[in-house]
């Protein structure tokens, strides 16, 4: 670890200068500012400064009823909006002990997994953009448009779906969606082979990612990092398996885990997760039961019994948890949103000390950050 003293004791001491990897920067994919103290190309200290897209989601939770807060949940992390709505809706259903019909649970799993694939595709395109390759972004968005068409046909919007409702889903899926999803799964598998030969086996990518930004599982535990970051460090922590919610316990899928702890491991975890999500979608399509998609007697005005209720889901970036503290009224007393990107980024300062600047950007890209997810 290169500390400031080590640099200073370098014979002719070269001064450090402060660089703003500021709010408007192509590599931060949003408005994250990193105040970097640099010595030449080496980073002495990289301190992320957040809050440039703070949109008061938690304050809005305290002056909106449960149903009114749903559109907010899909604007926290707009790339895996389904799992965020699933977290909030799950917490309310847990408090009301509401039984969601099985068909709705299966539809929730299918749409969440498709949303995870579209989120990983955006990450893949943007990450390769950081490393200098522009073509993968075009391939990734071309496939992603197919997912968005399918999700748009049932939810009505491309990105910020408020598709899940308290007690079920907004409307039923028609067989045009089911047929399209099967075609998409069949189309995506050979595409993944092409992605592997185009990018994953590319020597330039391997040189840029292997042994870059090692994050030990101990550091993940100390900072609370979850998702592909902790799975890239050898710990198979996945909320779908550790705290099974919805009907995830009925599918068999593997939690991809790599021991190498470097950026390449996190890259491979996400590419493998796309394959696992395709498997889950296929199994869910085969076992999709008939029946209603909305619980019968959902009270019009929801009044949660007093107390606090948590619900955690596995978003594309990690563990998303909602804590609703209710005092019996129809407006929640406090809504706390535990978002994965905040914890994943909090270890960046320690992980990037002493690295070269381009490697630190590769590390930040491998953390897969969505900045409104950090600032809420």
């Amino acid at each position: 670890m290169i500390t400031k003293e080590a640099i200073m004791s370098n014979g002719a001491p070269s001064e450090t200068f402060t660089l703003n990897l500021g709010p408007q920067h192509p590599a931060t994919h949003g408005v994250l500012r990193v105040k970097m103290t640099m010595d030449g190309e080496y980073i002495v200290r990289a301190e992320p400064v957040c809050g440039y897209i703070h949109r008061m989601q938690e304050k809005m939770g305290e002056n909106r009823t449960y149903a009114q807060f749903l559109p907010n949940t899909s604007r926290i992390d707009y790339l895996s909006a389904m799992t965020y709505t699933h977290g909030f809706v799950g917490a309310v259903e847990r408090a009301l002990k509401l039984q969601v019909p099985p068909r709705a649970e299966y539809i929730r799993v299918i749409t969440s997994e498709m949303n995870r694939i579209s989120s990983h595709l955006v990450w893949w395109g943007a990450f390769l953009l950081d490393l200098g390759g522009f073509t993968p972004l075009l391939y990734a968005f071309d496939d992603r448009e197919k997912i968005l068409d399918l999700l748009e046909s049932i939810t009505g919007s491309r990105l910020t779906y408020s598709y899940f409702r308290i007690g079920g889903v907004y409307n039923d899926v028609d067989d045009q969606f089911l047929k399209g999803t099967r075609e998409f799964v069949a189309h995506m598998r050979p595409r993944l082979k092409m992605y592997r030969s185009l990018v994953t086996d590319n020597i330039i990518l391997r040189k840029r990612l292997i042994d870059i930004g090692p994050i030990s599982s101990e550091m993940c535990r100390k900072y609370g990092a979850t998702g592909p970051v902790i799975r890239g460090s050898g710990v198979p922590y996945d909320v779908r398996r550790v705290e099974p919610y919805s009907v995830y316990s009925e599918f068999d899928f593997v939690i991809p885990t790599f021991q190498e702890t470097d950026s390449m491991a996190r890259y491979l975890v996400r590419m493998e997760e796309i394959v696992q999500s395709l498997r889950i979608i296929e199994q869910a399509l085969d076992k999709l039961p008939a029946g209603p998609v909305m619980a019968e007697k959902v009270p019009r005005v929801l009044k949660l019994p007093a107390g606090d209720y948590c619900y955690a889901t596995e978003a594309a970036r990690g563990r998303f948890a909602v804590r609703i503290v209710s005092d019996g009224k129809e407006i929640p007393y406090r809504v706390k949103l535990r978002t994965p990107s905040l914890s994943n980024l909090s270890l960046f300062e320690e992980a990037s000390a002493g690295m070269l600047l381009p490697d630190a950007l590769a590390l930040m890209g491998s953390l897969d950050l969505v900045i409104p997810d950090i600032d809420r």
Binding site: S9, A12, S14, T18, D39
Partner: protein, 136 residues
């Protein structure tokens, strides 16, 4: 000074004038066509670009020497290419000197590429910093 020489001189002079026009021309055109003033709302128009933030500290500081060595390697090859341009004009113009020209070219470029071998050994391309005192 017979007229042939002055003809050539005029030709060279015209060529330099053309080069100068290419250099100064855009400034004149831009000055004529661009708007007179820039609208600004926080009068930060002439502040250095730093992702929308106020630059912290000064950039005129003592840098590590690696940048300088990197630039030296570039200069070595820039000069190398400079000499190759006239060679390209007369390359295998005379039929029986074909092999000789090729060997001379390879020799010239070979000697100059020793710079890269030397720089590689010195570890300039890995951006390693010279450690006066071995790092503990």
């Amino acid at each position: 000074m017979d007229d042939v020489l002055s003809g050539d001189l005029i030709y060279v002079f015209a060529f330099c004038l053309g080069g100068l026009a290419f250099a100064v021309g855009p400034f004149v055109v831009v000055h004529l066509l661009s708007e007179r003033k820039t609208r600004n709302y926080a009068n930060k128009t002439d502040q250095y670009i730093e992702c929308g933030m106020e630059p912290i500290g000064d950039a005129w500081i003592r840098y590590s020497a690696v940048y300088y060595l990197y630039a030296l390697v570039f200069v070595a090859f820039a000069v190398d290419v400079l000499y190759l341009i006239p060679v390209a004009l007369v390359y295998n113009r005379v039929k029986e000197f074909v092999i000789r020209d090729f060997v001379e070219l390879v020799l010239f470029v070979g000697i100059l590429s020793l710079v890269i071998v030397y720089a590689w050994k010195k570890g300039i391309f890995e951006w390693k910093r010279r450690k006066a005192t071995p790092n503990s």
